[in-house]
């Protein structure tokens, strides 16, 4: 099934998301961010009715106040369908899809460790990929988490001022970086392409 047909079939089955489906290149289809229940319906439909039988992987993204999880699945024609769900950081609760796509299991464990997702129905097993003794409640792939404040020796996360300033500090860092970048740009325009 090609990308165009996938979009048509999804539009038929889920008219409410139809207009937001995107196909930036011939073998790619992206859904918009969906709430978890809707996401599950689309994922099961893609597996059962559209024959997207291969689970590729999951991309977790920080969406400001929310977390986005993009499940990539593909079919026999090599089309990659990106089905996405969004949940608030304050309650990042989703259901495990590893019973539908067993190949997603390890990637879901990654979402738990790196983004702090709470995944219902995830089979028991070792966590992945953070080490034992990693401090609870620290999710390194969230944007507000700054590796500068993580002490590898004591395995503790110590932002400089109490509470609050993670984001403020990150913003300052960004300002510094922006200034530095502007300076760099003047001196070395053109990047790495030299010939």
């Amino acid at each position: 099934m090609k990308a165009e047909e996938t979009i048509l079939r999804l539009k038929e089955a889920f008219p409410d998301i139809g207009d937001d489906l995107k196909s930036p290149s011939p073998l790619r289809v992206f859904t918009p961010f969906l709430e978890p229940k809707r996401f599950e319906e689309v994922l099961i439909y893609a597996k059962d009715k559209l024959n997207y039988y291969r689970g590729l992987h999951i991309v977790g993204t920080d969406e400001g106040e929310n977390l986005g999880f993009t499940y990539l699945v593909s079919n026999a024609d090599g089309v990659i369908l990106a089905i996405r769900e969004i949940v608030p950081k304050s309650n990042p609760h989703i259901r495990s899809m590893s019973d539908i796509y067993p190949a997603m299991l390890m990637h879901e464990r990654e979402l738990v460790d790196l983004f702090g997702a709470e995944i219902e129905g995830l089979p028991e097993g070792p966590s992945y990929p953070l080490p034992d003794g990693w401090p609870k409640g620290q999710y390194p792939m969230r944007k507000e988490w700054n590796p500068k404040y993580f002490n590898k020796m004591t395995m503790t996360y110590e932002p400089p001022e109490e509470k609050a300033t993670d984001t403020a500090t990150a913003a300052n860092d960004n300002k510094d970086n922006a200034a530095k970048t502007a300076a760099d740009e003047k001196s070395t325009a053109g990047g790495g392409a030299s010939k």
Partner: protein, 404 residues
Amino acid sequence: MSEGLTIPIGPQHPSLKEPVSFLITLDGEVVKKAVIELGYNHRGLEKACESRTYIQDLYIIERVCGICSHAHSYAYCRCVEELAGLQTPRRAEYIRGIVGELERLHSHLLWLGVAGHEIGFDTLFMYTWRDRERVLDLLAEIGGNRVNYGINTIGGVRRDLDENICQHILDVMDGLEEQIKYYAELANTEATLIARLAGIGILTRDDVIKYGAVGPVARAAGIMDDVRIVEPYGVFTEIKVNGVTDDHADVYGRTVVRIKEMLESIRLIRLMVKEMPDGPISVRAPRRIPTGEIIIRVEAPRGEDVHYLRSNGTDKPDRVRVRAPSEANWHGMKHMLEGFHFADVPIIIAAIDPCYSCTDRAIMLRSDKGDTVTDWESLRRTGIERYKKMGIDPSKIRMRTSGV
């Protein structure tokens, strides 16, 4: 009745050169249950990429894996190039193709050696690793380094291939082809090798689909998932790849697939060297990349390498996600181990070619006494002299191959 004996293998173990932990529960000699624990090598590269510029990230991404560094940097460059709307020169794509196939050769030769070593066939290990050296020397000649060749840049490649290098590549291919045909014959006729590899670590076609296995593991079960064929990119839009599959679905099948793929890589390299067009090797890339997101796949030696990149209009990416082929193959591992003998565990694990970053070492040795640089020939001479003192004269032993 006992619950069975549970044996921990790893994270540090002589037969597994990289940290990974297995808890194997046995019923007699048969593996009843396997629990795999990964993550010892997690270095936070994806997070690191978010605070660095696109060109700095290229060097981080290249170090995701020592063996398939080109596949990763190529996938990353393609992500950035497509988001920036860059059209890379054809010559650059040919050079990327040649380096990619050389990488496949050295990776598969490395694997064949490791497989030989795991089943106690160390002669094969020594033969294949000697041949791999020739490929690594070529890569060093092309990119300046044996691994992490740094050939890719955003917008093309960093180094051109001149006539001498092209001729050298062709010469090495002649010698390698002879050797690899010998390995193919070995795989077809050597009874011990076949007996040791056939029928173990089976992952059937259905299981490959279920667990999302990729690369030679999938192709050994008859599934053609080669990205160069499924979704041709770069030079492979012009030069067609003859896909290799097998129907054994076991470790033997994976061996056959890899050996045949090496012969195909040699054919492709010869063709690419012959057909390589003249012209520039890179185009100028902007520092800031327009907002967008992209999924790119490249066929690495171990299988499909998937990169996701999201840009936000600045000179740093918003999100970089790398799904290396080994990561996809771990899901089926538990299934491959259960029901087979404990003695087969190392070769079954090795058969997916898990990413052992063991490659980097010096290309030349400096003597203790000063600036003298020891090359391959003098190293060999030193070895022969050393053995002569011990009463053995290995100088009559001839190297098997010619033309290298």
